[in-house]
Symmetry: C2
Subunit: 336 residues, 2 copies
């Protein structure tokens, strides 16, 4: 397989991106295409590039805070646009970027289009739970989705849980403010009815509290809710860990105790909650493989993202999504 | 002032509710009316009731999982309905319940009606942040709110921050998925425009991540989003603390270290994140004072809820809400 990697996207680009590519390269049969300002890429790495890491020049790059669609239109030779076009033209199978999330989503959606049977894409986040991991989507791609979109998100999330997380028959839940079928807003009530009809192993409504206990393998919600939950969870986690740190530092005895006894346990917890471990967020539903990494991604996160698209590719995730979406649409294989 | 306390609501009713009332009674000039099955209330407490704690009999009680509106209709002599009617009839100024949240919200809204200028109520949650506390609303009262409701929520949240938290000129933020004015869904875009026009000290959009850093004193959102964030934050907090506990217990040395050095710091953190400390969630916008406590409330939570309604009463929170809502509605003092 060939993976187009946006070497210029992210807070630590290009050095950490390049490092991640090199670390992942022994695991990839095929090529990693490092897309960006070749002189910057070369000077960020001292040594020889592995034979399956190839540099593709792009003279521009899109900043984190640029308006996505406008940036794509203005910067035709940006690393992101060049990477997306490699996938569109069949020169690559997957794209990975730690840059502007909105721009990456827009590029994949506009240049690749959605898969047959899928009308809108979704960004999935992989969250840790008490019992393992779960796929949480849409965490930011399609604002103001309708119930039909939600059905497609459920299919996409289940395909990801199955192929990448290796869960044979994933339990799909609908994020809601109560467990009863009658709870929620207009969107969740309508989605509930469609899920019951079209989604394999639909376990009903799941509350925000229970998802952390491992109540479902796939949790489906609308993008506004999903993005707020994603960012608010990230912020709350940071608040709790910083509060612990502050309390421990306030007292010399606790500080010494923490240094002696708590380093290893905290390293384990950090590992479980660390987004670097999960290799970024897959953008699902588009006609190509795409993983969007956190802006703060380090080499490990990039390496893991590469391993995720490898798995998606090997397990034919998009064929599964297309087939399931076709069945949900009454075998027509396309949205009515 | 007179406070009607639902003695039968909550997991630890009536004993913890009664205990909370007795602990708060020296701080209340006026009466606490303990509403419920008087025999159960009496047998839950061994001793004499303080002179300003009076028992009001109600033969029924509403369970946690009963459908709210139906329960209110069927159980006219339930502790909740009797308590709500005391406020409606001017026999009490405030109602507190740790029972069925939906039923308490419905009772206050149906029997008391909304304040002039307010069309729908909101439940506010008081969250801890890096720098203090903030008011988060609506966390569950009004599903599918419109932008006009959101303006009223902002007014109500600011009045609470001012009167109960003692913040002179509270910074009001709109919960959104980006900081720019153009970000979000149809509701937040329209709300943004109205907030800019009508809300004092509106600081713009606030992301889920930044609210934990103390970005605003009041964070406004729609009830579905708010309730999901509330429950998901509660669940995530529990997950993190249980993960820490598991990791510490897995290793004898860490376990001993934790017992020796970490008890005090963890007690401090627990205190900061503990809902018992905040005295429940005020239901704002109704024509009376109402605080809804967590089902798991203990005596301390009930005591603190009583002190919260005392503060609301002394500071005339509803007069402030009514006045500000009147101004926002162009001085008409009622919704157009």
């Amino acid at each position: 397989m060939r993976i187009a990697l946006d070497a210029m996207g992210g807070d630590h680009a290009p050095s950490e991106i390049v490092k991640g590519a090199i670390e992942a390269s022994p695991h990839i049969q095929g090529e990693i295409l490092l897309v960006g300002e070749t002189s910057a890429i070369k000077s960020s790495f001292h040594g020889n590039f592995p034979p399956n890491v190839r540099l593709i020049h792009a003279s521009q790059s899109i900043d984190m805070h640029e308006a996505p669609v406008e940036a794509l239109r203005r910067k035709k030779d940006s690393s992101l646009v060049v990477a997306a076009n490699l996938v569109r033209d069949g020169e690559a199978d997957a794209m990975i970027s730690a840059g502007n999330t909105g721009a990456a989503t827009a590029a994949a959606t506009m240049y690749w289009k959605c898969l047959p049977g899928i009308s809108r894409p979704a960004i999935a986040t992989i969250f840790p739970s008490k019992t393992g991991r779960f796929v949480f989507l849409d965490s930011g791609a399609t604002v103001d989705a309708d119930a039909q979109n939600m059905v497609e998100f459920a299919i996409m999330g289940a395909a990801y849980a199955q192929t990448v997380l290796g869960i044979a028959n994933p339990r799909v839940g609908l994020l809601n403010i109560g467990e009863e079928e009658t709870k929620g807003n207009a969107l969740t009530k309508q989605s509930y009815r469609l899920f019951r009809e079209h989604i394999d192993n639909f376990i009903g409504n799941v509350e925000g509290k229970d998802m952390w206990k491992g109540a479902a393998d796939v949790v489906v919600c609308e993008a506004f809710v999903g993005n707020v939950v994603l960012k608010s969870s990230e912020g709350l986690g940071e608040l709790i860990f910083s509060a612990i740190k502050d309390e421990l530092s306030a007292n010399t005895l606790s500080k010494i105790g923490a240094m002696l006894f708590l380093r290893a346990p905290f390293r384990e917890i950090k590992k479980k909650t660390d987004y670097d471990e999960y290799g970024g967020a897959p953008l699902l539903g588009v006609n190509g493989l795409c993983v969007i990494c956190h802006g703060r991604s380090n080499a490990k996160a990039i390496r893991n993202a590469i391993l995720v698209v490898k798995r998606e590719y090997q397990e034919h995730i998009n064929d599964i999504i297309e087939k399931k979406a076709g069945i949900a649409h009454g075998g027509k294989g396309d949205v009515a």
